[in-house]
């Protein structure tokens, strides 16, 4: 392999170069990366225990406001818990929900899309019917109903969101598969005796992967928002576990007196969702052909 040092630039390297020139991609990637690092190393970064109450320091404002204290950078909530620590630990919930939902929904949706798109005919009719059934249900409403029946927890949220929001993966993967299915390289693989799963995995998947990646990031943002909404409505993460949606819900009653209780986690959600969306847009732009098939 080493003797043939190709004189042509490898597409991978070209793509890397283009990625580094894409502002949105860099911004999204940077924020997501920092959030992931913060979430993983939360116990080392957080200055206080996120659930330890200290009623002596209730409702302290952030440092830069009047009455702020340097040991509570973002102030404290109505139970005297350090807001920065809660924000740091809250990122864990958002990311876990985002990634897990993405994986579950992505697996279900892509599998359906591949099968429907590749086999066509009756199989495709069934897949299309299932997708239509899903599309006719109002997603978040069903999630609300199920979670209020089963009871909210991290696992339920992930499962419910994952089992609901696979529709976009299925629709896009199915269409993309249909476009590739009739190509001659698929016929060549069939003549070579390759099985349908082999063809889907080895010949079709590489051609559809960039679509899946783009949807995955957009859907991850969607899942993060859904978790925040559910927690805000009191159906998601149970107190005292810190979750950004729950933080907004708890700060709501102090909205006029202490607005930072709402906008601090609000900005965190905004930034994370913005970052994943920008990353998704960036991936979409970078996977555009631009003279490359």
């Amino acid at each position: 392999m080493e003797e043939i040092q190709s004189s042509l630039p490898a597409p991978r390297r070209l793509r890397m170069r283009r990625a580094l020139q894409h502002g949105g991609f860099i911004f999204g990637f940077a924020i997501l990366f920092v959030t992931i690092v913060i979430a993983i190393f939360a116990p080392f970064i957080a200055p206080h225990d996120p659930i330890a109450q200290n009623l002596g320091v209730r409702l302290l404002p952030p440092l830069w406001m009047q009455g702020g204290r340097p040991d509570y950078l973002l102030g404290t909530d109505h139970l005297g818990r350090d807001y920065l620590s809660r924000l740091i630990y809250g990122s864990r919930v958002s990311l876990i929900v985002g990634f897990s939902t993405m994986l579950i929904a992505g697996a279900i949706g892509s599998a359906l899309g591949f099968v429907g798109g590749y086999y066509g005919g009756r199989t495709d009719d069934i897949v299309t019917y299932v997708i239509n059934c899903r599309l006719s249900m109002p997603g978040l409403l069903v999630a609300l109903a199920v979670i209020s029946l089963v009871g909210g927890s991290l696992a339920t949220i992930i499962l419910v969101l994952g089992l609901l929001f696979w529709d976009r993966y299925a629709v896009v993967v199915r269409t993309a598969t249909q476009q590739v299915r009739n190509a001659d390289f698929i016929a060549a693989a069939r003549v070579a005796g390759a099985s349908a799963p082999w063809i889907i995995w080895n010949e079709i998947r590489p051609n559809v992967l960039h679509h899946i990646l783009v949807i995955a990031t957009l859907e991850m943002a969607m899942a993060i928002l859904s978790e925040a909404s559910l927690s805000f409505l009191g159906l998601g993460i149970r107190a005292p576990t810190p979750s950004w949606g729950l933080m907004i819900a708890e700060g709501r009653s102090f909205l006029f007196a202490k607005p930072y209780l709402v906008w601090v986690p609000g900005i965190a959600i905004f930034l994370l969702v913005l970052a994943t969306n920008l990353l998704g847009d960036g991936l979409r732009d970078l996977s555009q052909p631009e003279g490359r098939r």
């Binding site: 490898a10 001659d184 390289f185 016929a187 070579a192 005796g193 098939r293």
Partner: protein, 293 residues
């Protein structure tokens, strides 16, 4: 010489639905075609667009199943062969070298595909064989790990040929392998086909609408018109004295670059001699329309 490929009375009609409630319409693509391809010869199928040449190729490749009739390969009924045995005997070279190579895989992967699917050899052996074929079809080794979009159409077709030879098949089914290439490249690819035939002891079923190509490469010719073989015979006598009126029309429609020679006047007299009872005959035929100024 024994016959490697025997096609007996094979027919296929496509079903086309014109409306939701109307019964499907049958469009015969191949009508009771019989022919033999002897071991070591080049059998050419010629005919205008829509005459059923490519459908016949797909039937031989088992990409389509015939309605009636049977195909025998190397003395065994084709339909009873396992995918593996079939792949060891017959391999395809397709018309469009852009559609026949997976854009997301390297040339090395593409060429190795049939052997990877079949299995039974080590990764090292597989790559060695791919490398050897890569050189045999006249590709520079520095391209071995590049992607299809980085090479030209002629080079792509060489890759497709190398892939077809990976399993050392006896029969290559070439569906217009040169028609997507420009004339100088066509000549090189034809030369390559001739060389490979000698060194690998190959038999070709060579489908083309280019009579100049066929005259050069074919030992025998079958002329297809509206799904039927209207004439078959040795190449030289065919070009000297075609018997069927359609063959004569086909030959007279060839443009020969002689100064002062006008466009050929194509007689449609033969139409009356061909029975016209199938729905397919009602359709205007692209090539014959194209023959008129």
């Amino acid at each position: 010489m024994t016959s490697l490929l025997e096609v007996n009375n094979i027919s296929l009609a496509f079903r086309q639905r014109t409306g939701f409630f109307s019964p499907p319409q049958l469009i015969p693509a191949v009508k009771s075609v019989s022919m033999q391809v002897r071991e070591g010869e080049v059998m050419a199928i010629v005919g205008e667009s829509g005459s059923g040449k490519s459908t016949l190729a797909k039937l031989v490749l088992r990409l389509l199943m015939p309605d009636t009739g049977s195909i025998t390969i190397d003395g065994r009924p084709s339909s009873t062969l396992s995918p593996r045995d079939f792949a060891n005997l017959v391999q395809p070279v397709f018309q469009d070298p852009y559609s026949s190579l997976n854009p997301k895989r390297t040339l090395a992967d593409i060429i190795q595909m049939p052997l990877i699917v079949r299995g039974g050899v080590s990764a090292k052996e597989c790559q060695d064989r791919a490398r050897e074929l890569f050189g045999r079809v006249g590709l520079p080794m520095r391209l071995f790990h590049t992607y299809p979009n980085q090479i030209s159409g002629g080079q792509r077709q060489r890759v497709a040929i190398a892939r077809a030879l990976m399993l050392r098949p006896k029969l290559l089914v070439c569906d217009e392998p040169t028609s997507a290439l420009d004339v100088s490249v066509q000549a090189q690819i034809l030369k390559l086909f001739e060389e490979l035939k000698q060194s690998f002891g190959l038999t070709y079923l060579f489908i083309s609408h280019n009579l100049a190509v066929v005259e050069r490469i074919a030992d025998r010719i079958a002329v297809m018109y509206r799904g039927e073989i209207v004439e078959q015979g040795e190449t030289a006598p065919f070009f000297a004295a075609p018997r069927h009126p359609y063959s004569r029309m086909l030959l007279s429609s060839v443009l020969i670059p002689i100064a002062g020679r006008p466009l050929p006047l194509v007689s449609r007299d033969f139409e009356t001699s061909v029975s016209c009872e199938s729905p397919a005959t009602e359709r205007p035929i692209v090539a014959t329309r194209g023959c008129r100024p």
